[in-house]
Amino acid sequence: MLLWLGGSVLYSQSTSSEEVDESESYLEKLKQNIDVLNEGQERPPIDVDGLGEVIIHESGRLKPLDSYARTMLLVMSGRSTYEGQEAIAWLARVMWEPEKTVDQRIFKITFDQVLVALGIKPDKSRRYTYNELTRGFPVLVQLVQLAQNKDKDYQTPADKEFLRIYDNFLIYNQIMNSFLFSLPVQTFLISSEEVKGTLGLPLDKNYFSFADIMRISDRLREETTRIQSQDNWGAKEVLIIDLEQKYDGFLQDFGDLPYRFFPSYTHGEKFFSAWDIFRVSGGNDIMNGEVDNLDRMVKAYLDRDQSTFDSNLSQFQSRVQGKIENKRVLTQITAELLYNRLDPLYRTQLILGVAFLFIMIFFILKRPILRKISVWLLGLGLVFLLIGMVNRFIITLRPPITNLFETFVFVAGVSIILGLIIERFHKKGLGVLSGVLSGVILLLISNRFAASGDTMDVLVAVLRSNFWLSTHVITINLGYTGIFLSGVIGHLYLFQCLKKNADRNKLKNTYRVIYAIQAFGLIFTLMGTILGGVWADQSWGRFWGWDPKENGSLMIVLWSAILFHAHFDGIIKDLGYAIGSILGIVVLMIAWFGINLLGVGLHSYGFIAGIAYTLYSYIALQIILVAILYGVIEYRQQKEKLAKTEAVKEIKGSVEKPV
């Protein structure tokens, strides 16, 4: 029941109170079962790298288990490794030695409120254990119910945090359960040697797993039928009947799992979990195929038997792969494994960081070679970013932008390209600096979105149109790039203004770059907005409906248009234009994900709690920064003017004096 419950929470976030209550009693049961396991001696686990290549079906798509492990670890703990272990090694432990993971610091909780409410003592690492959460679980359930009864728009950040932790906790439970059929459990405690002998179970063991019983299930059935026809039951007979009932009842506690291992025989894309298979077909004949391999893998893992583990894993793999009809899946899985290992977007960030160092040193030392190196590094960063995008395309066969995460990656890429183009014309380091800054900032933002789940998630129905995804979405994001980059260069303009005796020509040059990039942004945002209208007309029947997302892009277009016309008319000068382009970033950010944070509209496609605060504090800081810079620049200019008039007076004075 609990497993199914977790699934429903994960996908629809609506759980009735009954289900939550049941899950509580279920936890007790699971804990009992797990406690039994806490007997074995501690030996370092075997190498499970190959496990990552296992194909699973999760949240609507096929992926390697490695991706699932990484995403889950990132979602739960905010980190990509656990105490130096790869994500897959962490996952293997949670699946196969759940009892040894209950004190691992996995659940990241940053809200103090939440900790206080759950009665958890704050820890420096800001990560908490399964055991700690279990103690707070009864309170958590009540708080989650409270949050779920609220309209989504009225949930507080704390509510959202409770829901998030609850979801994570349940998923963690599901992972702990996913191989419970292979683990020796309290339920199947058989100490009577007579019973073991009758059923053909090994005499030296007392605790058995569900799979062990399944292997002898035919014998068990025979025995029960025989016993039921008898009148006189001894202790042995009672124990066997009891065992049979426990065996039948065991499955009822487990349902859907977050991920599934087994491709179906008839539909290549549909996968099932081991539990699904047990339920559909009982009997020991299923212990011959993949289930048997998995069971032996678990036993080998527990016995630290590397060679048995490896041989069963490879047998399992070849069996599963043989059943997959669509062979492209295999290419896709290979590509995704490569993507996970290479982590090209992370590498891009590292390279851009180094490029940033070089360009800053160039500004200080003025050695041309440093600028050249930074240009090459920026180019190298771009190459890695492109590798990442191509790799993602091979995996998903979708245009480059399908979700919020990918918009940031795409815009980062185009910013770098534009930065390189600017550098090609100006050769002063301005292009590199703006390209590096935009790239790093945008990729850092994208990291936050990656930490909220699978970045190659399935698409909702309205987005399933490659035509519109590759026209409207690309165009509007090209526009976003222009607005963003022009704002970044706007900052550089202000800093150039700050310098004493700023070079007029240099300033004019920078202004021209801002102007050109802003024009680029306006052109594409306008075009993208109109294309968006056409798409809306195609799918909802109205060209324009003042929907938040539409309003967002309209605001960008309007802001940019205001800048152009005001400058054209002389209402604002170059400095005003630069400041306007900086504030353009604020408008852009509101349109980009601020509007989504309002949580209304047909278009909203991704909410992340906490981002709202970051956004609001960014807006405040940005405006304060611009105000201060503007204040200082104006003050300097006034002083310069004053000094000039003083000088003129003095000259006049000195001329006048002799007379």
Binding site: R464, D547, D569
Partner: protein, 382 residues
């Protein structure tokens, strides 16, 4: 800048020139754009609390809007009208030179777009068709507004008289037909049935009373109701509760034995054909509740001739000036699925497309012109 100086045209009177110069002023353009920016921002935030419909009417489909509750601010209609006039004046002022042709195209396109939006606003009719599998209909329903309808069944067809619910005022006689007079005693814009018994009131579906509710965030969910006095040909009167959520109409027996029906319902617009939902398909991504696609398989029946058609996301059905979109779906507790098809009749639907093409062309031309200029400059410097 070389302007085509229209104010130098000799026959234009001096006053006209001043007006012209004022009308095409860039300062007005900037002011309009800024106002629209503020309106858009305010309107978007307003939506979070009051819903899209309220925000549209308050900020964008109005001439004036009280900002922050009391500051009078030009509304969407006013700003866009001034902007349109300003633009029309301005395009005659442009320097008509080759390198500006892209910019000129863009502005012509925007004029087109603004005119199209005004046209659409006044001409287009948006409504909705809600069908269960196997059902058919020849009317579409208004999204937001209701009517009080009375009809008599005559074979397969109905003769309906209806009164716009918006205009229902207390105490006045709404209409007299078949010798029946309807007088509203009270009317709530949004209501729900309540447990207590309204003294002397009857209803078609067993409702005993109505409770006033504040209007919901999404106007589509509004469900009006009220208490009406029904007088039949001088034979005394009945107090009837009518609520839009009721499944059945209220039957009234006339003195001559005929029966007419009374119902509060969404305003109905006749379609020139019958649309029948044969099948509704909803496909989820396996193992999730995320919809992969939904599709309505329909028949369009016109003068006895039937033809099949499919409506799904990003693939509307266009026929006879009407367009049907797969907007959403609903499922009742029995598991019956309803398909919700948004229906638009808009003779001007192509205008924004044309405007889009003009603007796009302008942007493209301008881009190329700028690019060529850039190339030239590079050659210069080499």
């Amino acid at each position: 800048m070389k302007y085509m100086k229209i104010w130098n045209i000799p026959f234009l009177p001096v006053k006209g020139k001043t007006i012209y110069r004022f009308g095409s002023s860039l300062k007005i353009t900037v002011l309009c754009l800024l106002s629209l920016f503020i309106l858009t921002f305010a309107g978007t935030y307003y939506q979070a609390d009051y819903g899209l419909y309220a925000a549209q009417n308050r900020f964008f489909y109005s001439w004036f809007v009280p900002l922050l509750g009391f500051i009078p601010f030009p509304g969407g209609k006013l700003v866009l009208s001034i902007l349109t006039i300003n633009l029309i004046f301005a395009v005659f002022r442009y320097p008509y030179r080759w390198e500006k042709i892209g910019i000129i195209f863009i502005h012509y396109g925007i004029i087109f777009l603004l005119l199209a939006s005004a046209f659409t606003h006044y001409v287009a009719k948006e409504s909705v068709v809600v069908l269960e599998e196997g059902q058919s209909t020849d009317v579409s329903l208004d999204y937001y507004h209701s009517e009080l309808a009375m009809w008599e069944e005559e074979g397969g067809s109905r003769k309906v008289v209806a009164y716009d619910a918006e205009n229902i005022g207390k105490g006045e006689i709404l209409f007299v037909k078949y010798g029946v007079e309807i007088v509203p005693l009270y009317y709530y814009e949004h209501a729900s049935p309540a447990n207590f018994q309204e003294p002397g009131a009857v209803s078609a579906s067993g409702i005993t009373s109505l409770l006033y509710l504040p209007p919901p965030k999404s106007q589509e969910g509004i469900s009006p109701g009220g208490l009406f006095e029904v007088r039949v040909g001088g034979e005394g009167s009945k107090k009837v509760l009518l609520w839009e959520g009721e499944p059945h109409p209220f039957p009234i027996t006339l003195p001559d034995g005929r029966t007419v029906f009374l119902k509060l319902q969404r305003i109905r617009y006749p379609l020139p054909f019958t649309i029948k939902l044969k099948e509704f398909i909803k496909e989820d991504y396996f193992g999730t509740g995320i919809a992969k696609r939904y599709e309505s398989v329909v028949d369009i029946v016109e003068e006895g001739v039937s033809r099949p058609a499919r409506v799904f996301m990003n693939n509307p059905l266009r026929t006879e000036g009407y367009i049907f979109f797969q907007a959403s779906f609903a499922q009742d507790q029995a598991g019956n699925r309803q398909s919700v098809l948004a229906t638009v009749s808009n003779r001007g639907y192509w205008i924004p497309y044309l405007a889009g093409v003009i603007i796009g062309l302008g942007l493209l031309i301008h881009f190329i012109v700028m690019f060529l200029k850039r190339i030239k400059r590079i050659k210069f410097s080499v």
